[in-house]
Amino acid sequence: MAKPMDQYKWHELTVGCVIEDVGNAMEYKTGDWRSSKPVSNREKCTKCGLCWLFCPDAAIHQTADGYYETDLDYCKGCGICARECKPAAIVMVEEER
């Protein structure tokens, strides 16, 4: 993980603050913003992929067998997938930890 910004010395920054490691925001897990998580029911799922299409966080991936799976490291729990799921295969469940 790139260090938090306040631990950087001035001479450690690249010229123009260029970030050389593209897409390194992946190291920042947004999953802990969540208060409820999506749980999908594979019996109802038609593998249409609407949840994947509408996920603002790109947190939904297709598995080898064609179903879609949420990456809970990044899911912020907005609930768009549950609302847009036509066969209502996804429900939001309050998270306890």
Partner: protein
């Protein structure tokens, strides 16, 4: 995922990665996530200050897997035209290999309709080969919901608060696509990520257009519009179905409505449930409805007389 192959070679590659700090249910980053899939890897993005810049690149991390430059609020179109000219010269001199490189300028509604309008107007007039995407969430959301000239009539923002002497935003929303059309550029379109395939098709057309292309994307902002985060897609759909934000494209001056929502749903359907419109009285809603009908009729007239 398969149905996206019509628009892009790499439907499952994310150019806007997870781990960005957008609010829950942000339709703006969704629009860019889908749009960049169409542009593909040979692209350079110039992005004005705004929500999308703030949430994607807090130093030392970035969400973009493309060459990306952050510029000030007012000059994103100027920077994009500079990149385009620079690349053209380098190719002519043989310093880089000749290929199609997509130059994309992205700004919010503040960076487009208010602060960046002059630079955008200049770039469109000079005819640079680039695509300008305006992600319109109808206020300055990243600084805490201040009104912009793209804020619709009657909406509550922190600088247009409703009360005894105020109805919220007093002026009508600036019709930015029409301003772009007035520059006689080859391609102008309005889109909304709630209609993803319509949006992707327009991005593809813009990418293939030689010369400036302008896409105005309505991106629902659950935080600023005061709606639950899971309804972002739903409200985008309502905006189109009520005629508040019609989907159309203008190719070389020819209007075409890409999705006709007729018969229009009453605009009250769209307004109710949004916290920013909850103070509106029946009178004001009727006023908004009249305006929507008028604009829709005007658009229909344009698209018929081609």
């Amino acid at each position: 995922m398969k149905s996206l192959e019509k628009y892009t070679d790499t439907p499952d590659f994310e150019y806007a990665t997870s781990g960005h700090r957008a609010c829950q249910g942000c339709a703006e980053i969704l629009a860019l996530r889908l749009g960049l899939k169409v542009f593909g890897k040979d692209s350079i993005i110039a992005m004005a200050t705004g929500c999308m810049e703030i949430i994607s690149t807090p130093l030392p991390t970035t969400s973009w897997r493309l060459p990306w430059i952050h510029v000030a609020f007012e000059n994103v179109a100027a920077v994009a035209s500079g990149i385009e000219s620079g690349i053209k010269i380098l190719m002519e001199k043989g310093k880089i290999a000749k290929k199609d490189i997509n130059i994309i300028a992205i700004a919010g509604d503040g960076g487009t309709t208010d602060i960046g309008l002059q630079a955008l107007s200049g770039a469109m007039e000079r005819g640079h080969d680039f695509t300008y995407i305006c992600v319109d969430n109808e206020a300055y959301m990243n600084t805490g919901i201040q009104r912009s000239s793209s804020t619709p009539f009657g909406a509550m923002t922190t600088t247009s608060p409703p009360g005894k002497n105020s109805i919220g935003q007093k002026t009508q929303k600036k019709n930015m696509p029409k301003i772009a059309v007035a520059h006689n550029i080859p391609y102008v379109a309005t889109a909304c990520p709630s209609y993803p395939f319509d949006f992707l098709a327009k991005v593809k057309k813009a990418k293939e257009t030689k010369g400036p292309a302008y896409i105005h994307v309505l991106s629902v902002c659950p935080t600023g519009w005061r709606i639950p985060s899971d309804q972002a897609i739903h409200y985008g759909r309502l905006a189109v179905r009520t005629g508040v934000f019609p989907l159309y494209e203008v190719e070389n001056g020819h209007y075409r409505i890409t999705y006709s929502p007729e018969p229009l749903q009453p605009v009250a359907e769209y307004l109710k449930g949004q916290g920013r419109f909850r103070h509106l009285t029946e009178d004001l809603i009727a006023q908004i409805q009249d305006r929507v009908n008028l604009d829709w009729q005007e658009l229909k007239n344009y698209s018929e007389t081609k």
